[in-house]
């Protein structure tokens, strides 16, 4: 008995369809993220001003001078942020280098969102995928042209397998993927620690959890001389193109999106919802696995260490939201976060602003993305529903 416009009890999925921007037009999808970033930067400037301990007392005695100094501080901070991320070939290399795993992991989350699944387990899938790639990377003695694709394939299989477990559990038992992927994160974390101390992986002569290094042939070749940017970034670009093609040009992507919006509709249309859940998680995990491989074969010391995925799997959620779950959106969001990371280091060094400010900026962006009404309220933007009106055409004309 649902009346027109009633979304039934899909409250949760409706929320993240809205928040993740799935299904909205390009202009609508862009407006909130862009304004969120802008607002975050403004708030960041205010924070810089308020934490400038040397200048604060001056406001009482010499406000003009205080204002000048504060503006200087803000200007210097943003200048450092800019120079550190885009100001030199090295800076650009650092930005793209930092963006690479973020883009891959962000795509993993975005694919899940598009199909109505919330993959929180990207970290775990990165760990398993990365370990699989590492094993290929140090045990096979092959030329780079063969070895690197093999290692990437191993990462894909490893990540897909680990995420596929969660997909299978959801398909067969209805277990919610948020719970199972979080639990699988813990299992992966400790499994990797265990493997790193086992004779298969552990570096000879070491007692701590650290693996032997990958063969030189397996290490991702750099793209800009000595700068750290390596071919992982090209893999990420290829992944963006692949995900776009998969989601919008293939029957499989059509099924993913249909089931993501409306599982009942998918079932009615003859799709196997269980199969979709398993395959979506597998695709998502495969992308996460590539991010994991990048974190071992793409940077020094080219070894597995404890929790080498770091926080990337969680940054990826923010990124997918910021990128509105669209592969191109994720690419830009990844570049932005990469730039903040690279520029943040410069800002800390040159302007003396702690790099934690970057984390604050990222967090502010995420808060505003997750609560789009906040941004809409600040800038008095109408919601897409309000713009479209309730119905475009009523029934039937006279």
């Amino acid at each position: 008995m649902s009346s027109d416009g009633d979304w039934g009890d899909q409250g949760y999925s409706a929320w993240y369809a809205r928040v993740s921007g799935v299904g909205s037009s390009l202009a609508q999808a862009m407006i909130v993220p862009v304004l969120a970033v802008l607002t975050a930067l403004i708030i960041g400037a205010v924070i810089i001003a308020l934490t400038d301990v040397d200048t604060l007392p001056l406001w009482g005695s010499d406000p003009a001078e205080a204002f000048r100094l504060t503006m200087d501080g803000i200007f210097n901070a943003f200048k450092a942020l800019f120079l550190g991320s885009l100001g030199s070939p090295r800076a650009i290399s650092e930005t793209l280098f930092a963006a690479t795993p973020l883009i891959l992991a962000g795509l993993a989350v975005a694919v899940g969102f598009q199909a109505g699944l919330f993959n929180i387990g990207v970290n775990g899938q990165m760990l398993i995928g990365g370990m699989a790639a590492l094993w290929v990377g140090f045990s096979l003695d092959l030329p780079a042209i063969v070895l690197i694709p093999l290692a990437l394939a191993a990462a894909i299989v490893g990540g897909a397998f680990w995420a596929g477990i969660a997909g299978l559990l959801k398909a067969k038992t209805g277990a919610h993927e948020v719970i199972t992927t979080i639990m699988l994160n813990f299992i992966a974390l400790f499994l990797v620690d265990y493997l790193l101390k086992s004779s298969i992986y552990q570096a000879p002569g070491r007692n701590d959890p650290i693996s032997r290094p990958a063969n030189v042939a397996a290490q991702f070749p750099r793209l800009l001389g000595d700068h750290r940017l390596q071919i992982g970034f090209l893999v990420a670009l290829a992944a963006v193109a692949f995900v776009w093609w998969l989601m919008y040009r293939t029957t499989m992507g059509f099924e993913f999106r249909a089931v993501g919006f409306n599982p009942d509709g998918g079932r009615y249309a003859g799709m196997s919802v269980a199969w979709v859940y398993v395959s979506v998680m597998a695709v998502s995990g495969a992308l996460a696995g590539l991010a994991g491989a990048n974190q071992i074969l793409g940077l020094e010391p080219y070894r597995g260490i404890s929790n080498f995925s770091g926080n990337i799997g969680f940054d990826a959620i923010a990124l997918a939201l910021l990128g509105r779950s669209h592969p191109v959106g994720v690419l830009f969001a990844g570049l932005l976060f990469g730039a903040l990371k690279a520029g943040g280091r410069e800002m800390q060094g040159a302007a003396g602003i702690p790099i934690d400010l970057v984390l604050v900026l990222q967090a502010l962006i995420i808060v505003m993305i997750a609560a789009p009404e906040l941004v809409r309220a600040i800038y008095r933007i109408k919601t897409p529903e309000q713009e479209a009106g309730t119905t475009m055409s009523t029934g039937w004309g006279s």
Binding site: S2, D4, T251, G265, Y268, G389, T391, W396, S398
Partner: protein, 541 residues
């Protein structure tokens, strides 16, 4: 709204005036000599972004009068009533009780002004008793906040005795049939001293005999001096019950008539804006071979209860078989089982002689079965998808809509263009999200998708629920076309009128069984009786 708006009302003195107006005990007003209160909507306009839902609407209802508000879905009836009940604030215009404007910002303002509403979807707490539901929001309490159950029960008894609204105050609402739940809603409205009661589509959930009971209740309320607003799209009921009929179309009141001056045809024309064929034009059926054969089928529902209990019937090529029945008697499970969405417990389903009992939805779809599902928004459509995407929702995997793993979007767009044209879907374009279409156009998208091939069997569940008269007319004619083209058609509907209009044969479902079989010309009374499980059990509910 907050404390300040309330303060504002006190300051302007409006609150005080309305209070005194409505606090007059309703008992004393039974005498006709006393002045009758009037509820008036004056120049109400409600602008939603992009849509003018109500456009300078005027409506008055006096105590002791029944006004029917007729209109198609989307005509603005519900918006108007939501304004009257304080759920929306009008863009301009005002609500007056006895010529005193009321500040209407929430339902509690409406209740204070003596307006009660019985919603289409009941707002009851199923695990509470009748009396608990009635006092909810205005509970008589004892020491320490305990609910005074005795007073609560007495309130219910007083009102039910006075208006003949029989219901046991101590029954849990979830155990009550729908008709009785509606009575609880009415009692609830009356217990807040409502002088005016608004009924939103009150008969849509009732069986024919319950509808009669409901009409008696309305007569009783009217005799006691209540003003009634009856919102409906059912012409016959409006003619039967109303003193005056107000017709809305596209946000405007287009006519106000007295029942004795009009016919159903005239009302339909006013509602739609052009002459409408109320009688479905259809020739004698020529049933041929059996297409669908259901043998002793039993199906469990989600909770593991037996929903379909050993049903056997057949549907032949070239005939329309209608399954009538009050909703929730196993129709949903029957259809889901026939279309492969839900496994059956026992029994066999044959399609063209082939056993399809355990076939998947896709396999059944591939056998040229068209399925118009019961709930178009829940399962028939993917709302955030475009029309094109919805048109290919169940054929995307086949050539020519896909080639190998890739979608062929230009082919899909061509098909969508063609079907939008052919099935008269009113839309700015094929790349519009279906969520922005009206219910009737959404349903046409489904019908277009399902009928666009050589169909051997049509299974249509509630094919016209909640859509406008024009779309109903159109979809009915399409269904008959399919029959005439040689398809077997199974219609499941809780609208008896629809079943009667379309069916060549009628089966009545009651508690998972076939409670009666009639030919297309059987009377409403006969079928209505069977809908309650036959003569013997009619008294029980």
């Amino acid at each position: 709204m907050g404390p300040f708006s309330r303060l504002g009302k006190v300051l302007t003195g409006e609150a005080g005036q309305t209070r005194t107006a409505q606090r007059t005990p309703s008992v004393s007003r039974a005498s006709a000599s006393e002045k009758r209160l009037t509820l008036e909507l004056r120049h109400i306009t409600k602008q939603f972004p992009g849509v003018l839902a109500c456009d300078d609407v005027n409506l008055t209802v006096s105590e002791g009068e029944t006004v029917a508000l007729l209109g198609e879905n989307g005509a603005g009836k519900t918006t108007l009533m939501n304004i009257l009940y304080g759920l929306y604030t009008p863009t301009s215009g005002e609500v007056l009780v006895d010529d005193v404007p009321i500040v209407m910002e929430s339902p509690s303002d409406a209740i204070a002004a003596g307006i009660g509403m019985v919603h289409q979807h009941f707002m009851l707490v199923p695990v509470f008793t009748v009396s608990e539901n009635v006092v909810l929001g205005d509970e008589p309490t004892e020491v320490a906040g305990w609910i005074d159950q005795k007073t609560a029960r007495d309130r219910v008894r007083t009102i039910s005795a006075r208006y003949g609204l029989e219901v046991d105050p101590d029954t849990y609402v979830e155990d009550l049939p729908v008709g009785s739940q509606q009575r609880v809603e009415i009692i609830k409205a009356l217990s807040r001293d409502a002088n005016f009661v608004i009924f939103d589509e009150p008969t849509s959930v009732l069986t024919p005999s319950e509808v009669e009971g409901f009409f008696k209740i309305v007569e009783g309320l009217k005799a006691d001096g209540k003003g009634i607003v009856f919102i409906s799209h059912k012409l016959g009921e409006a003619l039967e019950i109303a003193d005056r009929i107000v017709i809305m179309r596209r946000g405007k009141t287009v006519a106000e008539v007295v029942p004795k001056d009009v016919t159903e045809e005239k009302l339909a024309e006013l509602m739609v804006g052009r002459p409408v064929d109320l009688v479905v034009d259809k020739s004698e059926s020529k049933p041929l071979e059996v297409v669908l054969l259901v043998d002793n089928l039993s199906v469990l529902d989600d909770r593991g209860q037996l929903a379909v209990n050993g049903m056997s019937f057949d549907v032949r090529a070239g005939e329309i078989v209608g399954i009538a029945g009050v909703q929730g008697n196993g129709q949903t499970e029957l259809v889901e089982s026939l279309t492969g969405l839900q496994p059956s417990m026992s029994g066999t389903v044959y399609l063209g002689g082939e056993d399809v009992t355990t076939k998947s939805p896709r396999a059944i779809h591939k056998m040229d079965v068209a399925h118009v599902p019961e709930d178009r928004q829940r399962s028939g459509l993917v709302l955030p998808f475009t029309i094109t995407e919805n048109i290919v929702l169940d054929s995307y995997y086949e050539s020519p809509i896909s080639r190998g793993v890739q979608m062929n979007w230009s082919e899909a767009s061509d098909r969508a263009e063609r079907l939008v044209e052919e099935y008269d879907v009113r839309t700015p374009g094929i790349n519009v999200l279906v969520s922005t279409l009206s219910g009737g156009n959404q349903q046409k998208v489904i019908v277009a998708r399902e009928f666009d091939r050589d169909v051997t069997l049509v299974i249509a569940s509630q094919p016209t629920r909640g859509i406008d008269v024009g779309s109903i007319e159109y979809i009915h004619s399409r269904i008959i076309e399919e029959r005439d083209a040689g398809a077997a058609v199974l219609i499941v509907s809780s609208e008896l009128d629809e079943i009667k209009a379309l069916s060549d044969r009628i089966l009545v479902m009651y508690e998972g069984r076939i409670a009666g079989e009639f030919d297309g010309s059987a009377s409403t009374t006969e079928i209505g009786l069977a809908m309650l499980g036959g003569a013997g059990e009619a008294e029980a509910s």
